[in-house]
């Protein structure tokens, strides 16, 4: 069966520090991969999605970037975190068709 791993579960980082969040999917090949963010009191915001290795679509221009170095690995990065980057980050995948399957999320607090 397919599983999605997302880590770390929680992270506290100072303003200006770098960020790397990792997501890995097991049990499937060539998944579509997604990064979403939930800020306090707001809904889900799509940040990036990828339909293949090296193919990244950015939905919101901001302080973040994404990479897909391997078929089932999706990384969210930042060179310098801002206070506004705080939130709950969710990785998700599909087979190319619905539904979305979500990881357990990473709670990021920028101090």
């Amino acid at each position: 069966s397919q599983t999605i791993h997302q880590w770390p579960a929680t992270l506290v980082q100072p303003v200006g520090s770098p960020l790397s969040l990792e997501c890995t999917v097991e049990g499937t090949s060539n998944p579509n991969l997604y990064w979403y963010r939930q800020a306090a009191g707001r809904g889900l915001q799509l940040l990036f999605y990828s339909v293949g290795i090296g193919q990244i679509s950015s939905e919101v221009p901001q302080n973040l970037s994404a990479s897909r170095p391997q078929d089932r690995q999706f990384i969210l990065s930042s060179k310098k975190l801002l206070l506004s980057d705080s939130g709950f980050y969710l990785c998700a995948w599909t087979t190319g068709r619905p539904p979305l399957h979500f990881g357990n999320g990473t709670r990021l607090t920028v101090t």
Binding site: Q6, N32, G43, L44, L46, Y49, V51, F88, L90, A92, T94, G96, R97, P98, P99, L100, H101, F102, G103, N104, G105, R107
Partner: protein, 113 residues
Amino acid sequence: AQSVTQLDSHVSVSEGTPVLLRCNYSSSYSPSLFWYVQHPNKGLQLLLKYTSAATLVKGINGFEAEFKKSETSFHLTKPSAHMSDAAEYFCVVSGENFNKFYFGSGTKLNVKP
């Protein structure tokens, strides 16, 4: 363009009473629709999905939803609420090529003892 409107940001029910969470969608094609549940600090879990088969869809934990094309609605119901149902619920519609998904703003369900 696709969009989803969840008509209530908060719903409060008593344990054992029915639950109704309302969702309206807008789509330029025949959509696939979903309901997800999110408990605090957890990922989203799929409750049920509509993908152009039966219009009454049954999901996990006793939830069901009915797709009504004429009303562009996909309301989520449960006959009897349980304390463990307290969570946030999201209605979602897929994009035409299934690469994107459009989320409602969420409905927080409170269940009173």
